[in-house]
């Protein structure tokens, strides 16, 4: 498989992608910046950050409480340790109920567990109904942004995809394409036996599932099909439903710049006596997927993430290479931290390197996750053994005065060898610089490296008659 730098190079060379990224993430970034000017918003941000940490202080406890509340109202609760567990649980419900068609709301959790292929392999038709997810599904791709899945797609490509669906040439007009999607997907909503959504938040005190959308796909999936399955990563639990008044406006401001999205849906329990719509069965699947073991570690506050995507929009690396170059479900700074953590270091080991450490992600994060610090810590925790041995030896050497003196003396002598690789004459003071350093790899490839002094300061001091 291609390395991160190879994937990044390919992304940078992709003109179409560069055009899409250039115009689109700029819009999102401006919206995010405008959000922080309102003092009411600033207060909510601090309260939202505090509520997320209150939840994480006792995540298992809040989950137990939530499970009790959900069961009491007639909702079925399933606990899934792994992605495979989620797939088995959801497939099990679908098969037991004879479901042939599933409509899905926008959900990164179901992307994370690769739910669609598992259902499709069992002969179940799965239709993504968020417009962006629908576009990505038609193209046979994966989302490139957690908020705007089809951010990388341009209008001509989307027009071609939709034209294929309806079997005639459609004009390159977003309004027309949207109307086509409405018509095609409306039929799916009415005939689907199961709706699957994620959850933005789930309140422990009332057992309420909160869905935040602009299109209404979450409302449709939770209103028309007979069964509604919510795949809920465990950190989505919040103590009180009333906390939504801070959390949701913060999420929407940072995600899209909106005071609130068009729809905020609060679902408490399945269809009750006398209801003519809403699901007869409501299932909530708790997804651990490597999250619970992060509590109590230095990375625990990563679970405070509310998936607004602001860190992607401000990241100079994401803005240049887009989401797919990360080759992970979650991209951008949050993805670079989350991917290795959730997989226990098996996936995305090179992703913490996809950062300039400028700290823009930390500043943008509405709930104050120190993303840049986590990226640095992960680089240390995930570094390859070879590098760990080299740096360990260096640390031991410099811990002793004799080792330090000897190594600086040798460094000065070795530097003379590099003088042959001197930087170009155009560089002022080029004498003290090397254009390349063997063994330093790409790091020195794009920079001139200052050479150590030919004579160590201590030697010079003693030679001048100073006390050693």
């Amino acid at each position: 498989m291609a390395s991160l730098s190879e994937r990044a190079r390919a992304a940078v060379a992709d003109d179409q992608l560069q055009e899409a990224l250039g115009s689109l993430t700029g819009v999102l970034r401006r919206l995010t910046r405008a959000a922080t000017d309102d003092p009411r918003v600033a207060e909510r941000r601090e309260r939202a950050a505090a509520v997320r940490r209150e939840t994480l202080a006792d995540l298992p406890g809040w989950l137990d409480r939530l499970e009790r509340t959900l069961r009491a109202q007639g909702t079925t609760v399933h606990r899934a340790g792994t992605a495979d567990d989620v797939r088995k649980i959801v497939l099990g419900i679908a098969q037991a109920e004879g479901v042939e068609l599933v409509v899905k709301g926008k959900s990164m959790a179901t992307e994370e567990v690769h739910l669609n292929p598992a259902l499709e392999a069992a002969g179940i038709e799965v239709v993504e109904t968020d417009l962006g997810e629908y576009i990505v599904q038609l193209a046979g791709e994966t989302p490139s942004h957690i908020v705007g899945p089809a951010l990388h797609k341009r209008l001509p490509e989307i027009t071609a995809l939709f034209s294929r669906v309806v079997g005639r040439d459609l004009p390159e007009d977003a309004e027309v394409l949207c109307a086509v999607a409405r018509q095609v997907l409306r039929e799916k909503f009415f005939s689907a036996g199961m709706g699957i959504t994620g959850a933005n938040f789930v309140a422990a005190d009332t057992g309420t599932v909160v869905l935040v959308t602009n299109e209404g796909n979450g409302r449709m999936c939770s209103t028309l099909p007979r069964i509604h399955v919510v795949v809920m990563p465990v950190e989505k639990v919040i103590p009180r439903l009333a906390d939504i008044a801070d959390l949701v406006p913060v999420l929407t401001r940072w995600a899209t710049g909106q005071a609130l999205t068009t729809y905020v849906t609060m679902i408490t329990g399945p269809r009750g006596h006398g209801d003519v719509d809403g699901p007869e069965q409501l299932h909530v699947v708790f997804l651990d997927g490597g999250r619970l073991r992060l509590t109590g570690t230095a990375y625990a506050d990563m679970l405070a993430c509310i998936r607004c995507g602001a860190c992607l929009n401000v990241c100079p690396v994401y803005r240049k290479i887009g989401g797919h170059a990360y080759d992970a479900v979650y991209s951008g700074p949050m993805g670079a931290v989350l991917t290795p953590l959730l997989s226990g270091g098996r996936e995305g080991r090179d992703l913490p390197g996809a950062s300039s450490l400028c700290g823009a992600c930390t500043d943008a994060c509405p709930v104050h996750i120190p993303l840049a610090d986590h990226l640095v810590r992960l680089r240390a925790d995930l570094r390859p053994r070879r590098r760990r041995v080299v740096w360990g030896a260096w640390a031991r050497l410099w811990a002793r005065p004799r080792g330090y003196r000897g190594s600086t003396r040798w460094a000065g002598r070795l530097a003379r060898l590099f003088a042959r690789h001197r930087a170009s004459a155009a560089t002022p003071g080029a004498d003290g610089w090397a254009a390349s350093v063997p063994g330093a790899g790409g790091w020195a490839g794009a920079r001139d490296v200052p050479l150590p002094a030919q004579e160590a300061f201590r030697d010079w001091w003693v030679r001048r008659g100073g006390a050693p």
Binding site: L131, A174, N214, N217, A245, L260, T265, H273
Partner: protein
């Protein structure tokens, strides 16, 4: 609450609703609100039906359903045995609101027995009556009001018509939910 405070909230609500791309009517008297809704329903639904809840305190207070029936409109009520089959044919949905958020132009809709979730979702146009005294400054206050007499099975917060920005960040209206939301502000 003094009249001037209420007046300020109503003005903020009107401005926020417009920003959210909703159509705003009023504030008008309850009687005028009824004639307005009848007139708009007739114009928008034509021969199609109008989805309504069986019970809704705002609609019941003005006896709106009777007025709609008298105007010759075909109403789709949740006690209809063919409710689900007739739902796609309803072009207009009429509801009251439990609360409003002035800051964001948001309507709180309570759904449950007698008040189906789809009434404000599947029709092309959603007509909503919001009594002005239910307008609150922010989400926290509006949530407290909307849940004061118990949390409905589905509590939906709506800010304008359904929209998407998934095609090149261009805002397109009416993806899945109503293409248009008209709000009638009702004086107390």
């Amino acid at each position: 609450m003094t009249d001037s405070v209420t007046g300020g909230l109503v003005e903020e609500m009107r401005a926020s609703l417009r920003r959210a791309q909703a159509v705003v009517h009023g504030p008008v008297t309850p009687a005028d609100a009824v004639s307005l809704v009848v007139e708009r329903s007739a114009a928008l639904a034509a021969d199609a039906s109008v989805a309504v809840p069986a019970t809704d305190d705002v609609l019941d207070a003005t006896d709106l359903l009777t007025s709609l029936r008298h105007a010759g409109l075909s109403l789709l009520t949740p006690d209809d045995p063919d409710w689900r089959a007739r739902l796609p044919g309803a072009l207009v949905g009429v509801t009251g609101a439990l609360a409003g958020i002035a800051e964001s132009g948001t309507l709180a809709l309570g759904c449950g027995p007698g008040r189906p979730r789809a009434v404000s979702l599947t029709p092309d146009t959603h007509l909503c009556l919001l009594p002005v005294e239910r307008i609150e400054p922010d989400f926290a206050a509006a949530f407290a009001r909307a849940s004061a007499s118990g949390l409905p099975p589905a509590l939906v917060w709506v800010s304008g018509p359904s929209r998407s920005a998934d095609i090149e960040k261009r805002i397109t209206m009416g993806v899945h939910g109503p293409r248009s939301v008209e709000v009638v502000l009702v004086e107390s």
